[in-house]
Amino acid sequence: MSNRLFAAIAGVVAAAFIGLNAAVTNDYFFSAAYIVLLYVILSTAWNILGGYTGYVNFGTAGFFALGVYTSVVLFKAFKAPLPVMIVAGTLVAAVAGLGVGYLTLRLRGHFFAIATLALAVMLFTFVTNWDYAGGARGAYVIAPREAPFGFGHYIRYLYAVMVVLAAASIVVARAIEHSKLGRGLAAIRDDELAAECAGVPTLRLKLVSTTISGGMMGLAGTTFPLFISFIEPTSAFSLTYAVNAIAMPVIGGMNTWMGPLIGAVLLGTVQQLVQVTVSSAWNLLIVGVLLVLFVTMAPSGIMGWVRTRQHRRRAP
């Protein structure tokens, strides 16, 4: 399937999801769906670096919060419109991804993982001490009363925006997977030394990969302040984002674009249900236990399991 055809199909699916606006009357559905879509973007972004390239990023929350706080600052400074926020937050997070990659990707893989965690904590400290962006007390970002394009409630508008962004992320991820870049990244994942010897420009490809992945994580955060309307550092930098962004691709399967999508939809929906019916602490425990179980028992995730079954059926 060519990239254009896939993009067209993704567009049709996205339009169908936006069309749910007319059919569903309950506003809660859209706020729950917004969170699931947010995780679709985050885990797709994580997978570009983690799944395709084989480098673990623990700092998802940091990149996400960069997007969030770029929006907060733009909103406070000029009441910037949503498209400006989305572009600016993505760019800021992409530059941060490039910077961290440049600092640590020449070292062994572990150091990159630790450095991304370090970045998240450092950004957290800076934002906590930055009074203009609300500091430790937090900041209000109140969405306009009227949503544009006749969406009614603003949540519905944000949901529609998020559907488009998630569809775009998946199209980008799939395009990378099937491109020369994607094959280079896969070579790095499988054997970096051999890739280097075969003439793959490993450092450059890794930097491209961290930049795209970081930017996409920022993208996921840009609309979040308008969604939550009160933002403070502890919630913007919550480790929940980091652990979910890792758990979802691991559970879904890491080597294809479909894995993070399946993982995010499955785990995101379960979390929304548990959060409402039981409690948020149990909900996090479930994610942690699932992550450890999958990574030890079924390291190729749901996609890997499906694939082995197909193989068995073909060759009895």
């Binding site: 904590v121 602490a281 992550l291």
Partner: protein, 291 residues
């Protein structure tokens, strides 16, 4: 002038004392990450677990946390053996990439933290010891005993570990297993067994450090994350897997943190360790004392 001298002097004293404690916190990672190449990102979570066990023992039986440290270290040793067994069976033996091992430890970190939240809640907890409130004074310098006692015991632990790793057959085998497992096998030693014991030793130090932590500051399940940067910063600064290097790196970090807290405010302190770590990685990844 007098004021600034006492300010600086006290920052140095507090930094040194804190540094000794940080060495006990990080020496486990120097063993697991520096010597065994196991990226145990859940190490701080085990430390917090140790704190809560010391807290519980203190609350139920009134045992001093220092005594608790001795009592719980065998249990943590056993826990470490179990964790390494699982890690070995699932990842090392099958030759899987380290990436999934990292995700495994990250999951352990998360489970421990959420488990503690479910059992103990998210309030800050602390213990009271006879020496918590007292301090020695030397001129304008203060020596709070709640820092002095953990410092002394930590330095003793570091010294003991150094002797263990340098003087005994087991210690030399641990140093050898990273360099040449095959040669070790030819010597009639099982490298996996050595790695298992060394990893268990590193977790035992986590239990000990956790018991000290509860004397030094109030503990809450999620503060473990702040220590992730600290332990890896100290480990990298100290040159990966050198016990005395760990002590030196820890003292540098302790000083940097207390100076930042004194002159810029305590809310900046968490950025110090991570900032130092990023700088070290960017400029001198072999560590200050590495070759």
């Amino acid at each position: 002038m007098d004021l600034s001298f006492s300010l600086i002097g006290n920052a140095i004293v507090a930094g040194l004392l804190l540094g000794g404690f940080y060495a006990a916190v990080s020496v486990g990672v120097s063993i697991s990450f520096g010597m065994l190449d196991v990226v145990n990102i859940a190490h701080p979570a085990f430390i917090i677990l140790g704190s809560y066990i010391a807290l519980t023992l203190n609350g139920l039986l009134g045992i001093d946390p220092i005594v608790c440290a001795v009592l719980i270290s065998p249990a943590f040793f056993a826990l470490g053996m179990i964790v390494y067994r699982a890690y070995y069976l699932c990842f090392e033996q099958r030759g899987r990439d380290a990436l999934r091992g990292l995700a495994f430890f990250f999951g352990l970190l998360f489970i421990t933290e959420v488990g503690l939240v479910l059992v103990f809640g998210v309030d800050y907890r602390t213990v009271n010891t006879p020496y918590s409130e007292t301090a020695w004074h030397l001129g304008v310098l203060d020596f709070p005993l709640r820092l002095v006692v953990p410092f002394c015991v930590s330095v003793a632990v570091i010294f003991g570990l150094h002797q263990l790793l340098r003087r005994t057959f087991f210690g030399r085998a641990v140093l050898a297993v990273a360099q040449d497992p095959l040669a070790l096998r030819l010597m009639g030693v099982n490298p996996t067994r050595i790695r298992e014991l060394a990893f268990a030793l590193s977790i035992a130090t986590a239990g000990i450090a956790g018991s000290f932590l509860i004397i030094i500051q109030p503990v809450q399940p999620s503060i473990g994350r702040e220590y992730i940067g600290l332990v890896f910063a100290v480990c990298v600064l100290g040159g990966m897997g050198s016990v005395y290097g760990t002590l030196a790196g820890a003292v540098i970090l302790g000083l940097a943190e207390t100076f930042t807290a004194t002159f810029f405010g305590p809310s900046w302190a968490p950025a110090v360790s991570f900032g130092l770590l990023l700088c070290t990685l960017a400029v001198r990844p072999a560590g200050l004392f590495g070759r």
